[in-house]
């Protein structure tokens, strides 16, 4: 993904002896973004839309991208705890909206379960983290890593519109590299935490559950479990989109997020 503007800056803090890096742009209330299991592809148009009225900080979660690997980490909750410190040190933990994409949505939900004082809302986009009553979260081990990313779109054509017929080598490298870190954090069970529905049941933070209608990676049933577990959640489905809503339909995704925030 090519950078849309060159105005965003790179920031970094040290947490538990490790560098945690992020891209940041815009001004206004904070939106803190946690990326998918495949890593952060850089500054995407969705972030520009959000940055019009917010300070958007896109973290590389520890072990991904420019953030150093905690070799000892074994669970997304470990990452959530590190990020708890990181966003505090970055000064973006007040007047803040936490937005998690896919696997990053799981980490965001773990983080929200720690009752962050400055968290104004939680936005989970196609978030993993809980077991659906029916169906299963797609299993990465049965896909080539590029095929797995394709599965994130509603169709191969939608993938090609974003990444071209064949993704750039550095993106493939990112996806391959990132899935290794993800596999260090979730394996058994794959992509969910049986404790999480109980842990988030006391989270009063207003939550938007934003899902692509044709999500082939994290089925809508996951959103339904989140919706049933969280006391203050709203489910919104983006028509026609796949798992990677923010890439496939950035306008609709950004509109949903900004109007949710505006309505708080």
């Amino acid at each position: 993904m090519t950078t849309q503007t060159e105005t965003h800056s790179q920031i970094a803090v040290e947490v538990a002896g490790l560098k945690v890096s992020a891209l940041q742009d815009g001004s206004g209330p904070n939106i803190v973004v946690l990326h998918h299991s495949t890593g952060s592809p850089g500054w995407i148009p969705f972030y520009d839309q959000l940055a019009a009225n917010h300070t958007v900080t896109v973290l590389d979660m520890p072990g991904y991208g420019q953030s150093e690997r905690p070799g000892w980490a074994r669970h997304p909750r470990d990452i959530a705890i590190l990020l708890h410190s990181a966003i505090h040190k970055m000064g973006i933990d007040t007047d803040a909206h936490l937005l998690g994409l896919g696997f990053g949505g799981w980490v965001a939900a773990e983080l929200a379960s720690m009752h962050l004082h400055g968290l104004d809302s939680l936005i989970l986009v196609g978030a993993a983290g809980v077991q659906p009553e029916e169906g299963e979260i797609a299993d990465v081990i049965f896909y080539e890593f590029e095929e797995y990313v394709k599965l994130g779109f509603s169709s191969d054509e939608a993938y090609a519109e974003v990444f071209g017929d064949e993704a750039a080598p550095e993106l493939k490298e990112l996806w391959d590299f990132s899935r290794e870190m993800t596999a260090r954090l979730t394996w058994k069970p794959w992509m969910f935490n049986r404790q999480l529905p109980h842990l988030i049941s006391e989270v009063e933070t207003p939550t938007l559950l934003l899902w692509g209608e044709n999500d082939r990676v994290v089925p809508l049933g996951v959103a339904e479990v989140y919706d049933a577990s969280l006391p203050n959640s709203t489910l919104q489905v983006v028509e026609g989109a796949g798992h990677l809503v923010e890439l496939e339909n950035p306008q609709a995704a950004a509109d949903a997020v900004t109007s949710f925030i505006a309505g708080l």
Partner: protein, 431 residues
């Protein structure tokens, strides 16, 4: 020279369409066991055991078994059960397990106990061997791929300690934890059975193996990359203060002997038909490269030259990354991956050796001269070969080939791991 016998024990269902080019797709982890017939399984397990017993009668030093999971090309998912039976029904040959897939064991203490029992029942004939698995094993038993290598090493250290250190002791490791290690079964051999490590691909493993002075057995790899792997072993050995020799080098290769050249060719062609190991060159079947390339299973800088003849040569899609790695790592060993397919080509480059004793013996000699392994295994009775094919070959191995190979071993000074102690370099008595 140590001479062993091996077959991968394929699941052969001649009605299924999987045997021979009858058009039924053989895809790696893509076949349902709804098609598995336990009656056929029963016949095959007994047949393969019978053939092992006959192999011992025919003079083989070792009976090699291997282990794969959820796949028809190898019925040895619970190889230790077969080994335990062989421990009781054979008398002299070593039972060589190449190998148990260490990282997928959630409870390696149980493995230590099983192997100790096998060693006792066989009165000290176990050669134990351990592998990391090919990816499908991690999938089948859901073992976390990024920790495969760490688990291999820790399970190894744990089993060796459980065998050689009087208990009870406590083990609080990164991947394995025990509050009370005191197995009421200890290996017959002191301090424990020899450990041989089979492999094809991981540079890490060769290095680790040489550091431990364990024999490294290359599995049906081509001659040039096999040489390079042995050279790498020797290099690591020198860095660790010893000179590796023939006893540290093992080689498994396909050899079938038959009564006539015609019969030999007919049977030899069966190596590459049927549900034979789809990883290996020329075989039918589609490898799903994502299963070989599980996240974090193999670190990207740690591939041996043989990757070009192994995964890259297999049919089916190949990820760009694998292809690029193969190209990079094999640059000094340019091999045309497309040239693997046919039987004739495999015969031409010694990947399959088949014929009457008269034609087979010089070819074996060529391989031994090139590679100088002290421990060899003949791989036979595989693919679509039936019991009769296997038995004809075993008989001729015993009558003509093994005696000739033993002479070559002496002449070429190829000492095996039961003639020279791989740990000390000292000659061994007995055995």
């Amino acid at each position: 020279m140590f001479v062993g016998y091996f077959t991968e024990r394929p699941y052969q269902d001649f009605e299924s369409g999987w045997v021979g080019a009858t058009g039924r797709e053989i895809e790696d982890l893509g076949m349902t066991n709804g098609d598995y017939n336990p009656r056929i399984g029963a016949e095959l397990y007994n047949r393969y055991l019978d053939e092992k017993v006959y192999a011992e009668e025919m003079g083989f030093d070792g009976l090699m078994l291997n282990e794969h999971h959820s796949t028809p090309f190898c019925m040895g998912g619970v190889m230790n059960v077969e080994a335990a039976i062989l421990a009781r029904i054979t008398k002299r040959a070593k039972i060589v397990l190449l190998g148990n897939v260490l990282p997928i064991w959630e409870d390696p203490l149980w493995l230590a106990e099983e192997l100790a029992e096998i060693d006792m029942i066989s009165r000290g004939r176990l050669v134990t061997g351990w592998v990391r698995g090919t990816g499908r094993e991690s999938v089948a038993h859901n073992s976390q791929a990024p920790f495969n290598w760490e688990r291999f090493q820790e399970a190894h250290d744990f089993v060796v300690k459980a065998w050689s250190t009087p208990g009870p002791f406590r083990w609080e490791g990164e991947h394995y934890q025990y509050r009370y290690v005191n197995p009421w079964a200890r290996p017959y051999q002191e301090p424990h059975p020899q450990i041989w490590i089979p492999g094809v691909m991981s540079r890490n493993t060769v290095k680790w193996c040489a550091e431990h002075r364990y024999p490294y057995v290359m599995l049906a790899t081509e001659i040039e990359p096999t040489k390079k792997s042995f050279e790498y072993y020797d290099e690591v050995a020198r860095e660790n203060g010893y000179e590796a020799s023939t006893e540290h080098h093992g080689y498994l290769f396909k050899v079938h002997v038959d009564e006539t050249e015609e019969l030999a060719e007919e049977a030899g062609r069966k190596y590459i038909s049927g549900p034979a190991n789809p990883f290996l060159e020329g075989n039918q079947g589609t490898v799903r490269s994502n299963l070989q390339n599980l996240p974090g299973l193999t670190s990207r800088t740690q591939l041996l030259p043989t990757v070009s003849t192994f995964a890259a040569a297999a049919r089916g899609r190949q990820s760009d990354r694998d292809a690029a790695l193969a190209e990079k790592d094999a640059e000094t060993d340019k091999v045309d991956a497309d040239a693997f397919g046919t039987y004739e080509e495999q015969v031409n480059k010694y990947s399959i050796i088949t014929g009457t004793p008269k034609t087979v013996i010089p070819k074996i000699r060529h391989v031994l001269e090139e590679l100088r392994p002290g421990n060899i295994f003949f791989w036979d009775g595989d693919g679509a070969m039936n019991h009769e094919d296997a038995m004809r070959s075993l008989k001729l191995f015993g009558e003509e080939v093994i005696p000739a190979v033993r002479e070559m071993g002496k002449e070429l000074d190829l000492k095996g791991a039961f003639e020279v102690d791989t740990q000390t370099g000292a000659p061994m008595s007995g055995d």
